[in-house]
Symmetry: C2
Subunit: 166 residues, 2 copies
């Protein structure tokens, strides 16, 4: 597994995301890494991240899929260009569409593992397939279509999200 | 608009959801209502529910779509049977799949409005289309496929989520 989380290479001005920003003290601070050709992240939901008692809230699962997907898109783009992640010019991605199939109840009370697989990777768009497992069993499958944020986009004027067809 | 939120009719044992449970003090406590043939909910994100500064976190938008979708499925099922929402036997729904297209950046700093439209409604499965608007502009479109939770399912033994094909 790589040593440094993808999200730790994000510039400060895009490190406030509620799902994965290292500067958002209220957020989930998800951290994603390479594991061979796949990407991996672990997250332990809090007791109140529940749907019905005993099971993880689906909205949290969708949130983790979202952030692991855009992080995987960014990391794969750097890797494809043979560049160190975080080097300039920055390759930042935002979510165009998010899909999650909930296959079975996700038990609450231990770590979840997300695994990302790059399905397609173009200069401006990537599709990332993600599984979410608990206790070694896949409980949800997701797909994130991520699009490149133009270099000219700087917060807070940035168009954070683009049409799915972009 | 109807007076009582759908979520206020949920039995106590399914009122702990992080997205909409009235008994989850840490959660979003989304509240959904009828407005004619549509359902509507409003939610004001907190300052830290951000993606990049100035814009709402997509995972939060997905979470709100999820809860408004299952709530709409339950309310529409009661209405179709001519029953008061919350009456026994309970009609509870869980999410089989969730899809969100992010059409444009969602500005942070005011209320979001969710509107739900019942696309299909069967005895065990419903499809709900949802728009998420800020300042009168649709920023995201979602779809929730919700499936009926069998009466025999009671937390915490319940299979909270079923396969998409169920």
């Amino acid at each position: 597994m790589s040593d440094r989380a993808f999200q730790e290479s994000y510039p400060d001005d895009v490190s406030h995301c509620y799902g994965c920003g290292r500067l958002n003290e209220h957020g989930h601070q998800l951290k994603s890494y390479w594991d061979g050709e796949e990407t991996v992240a672990q997250f332990e939901p809090l007791p109140y991240h529940t749907a019905i008692p005993g099971f993880v809230y689906g909205g949290l699962i969708a949130s983790l899929v979202d952030c692991h997907g855009t992080a995987t898109a960014a990391a794969a783009s750097y890797r494809a260009e043979g560049r160190v992640m975080g080097s300039e010019p920055a390759l930042r991605f935002v979510t165009a569409s998010l899909h999650v199939d909930f296959l079975r109840p996700t038990p609450l009370g231990g770590p979840l593992e997300l695994r990302g697989h790059v399905e397609t990777l173009g200069p401006r768009k990537a599709s990332i397939a993600i599984t979410v497992s608990a206790e070694g069993v896949v409980c949800a499958r997701g797909r994130v279509v991520a699009v490149r944020m133009p270099e000219s986009m700087t917060p807070p004027q940035a168009d954070a999200r683009e049409p799915a067809g972009a």
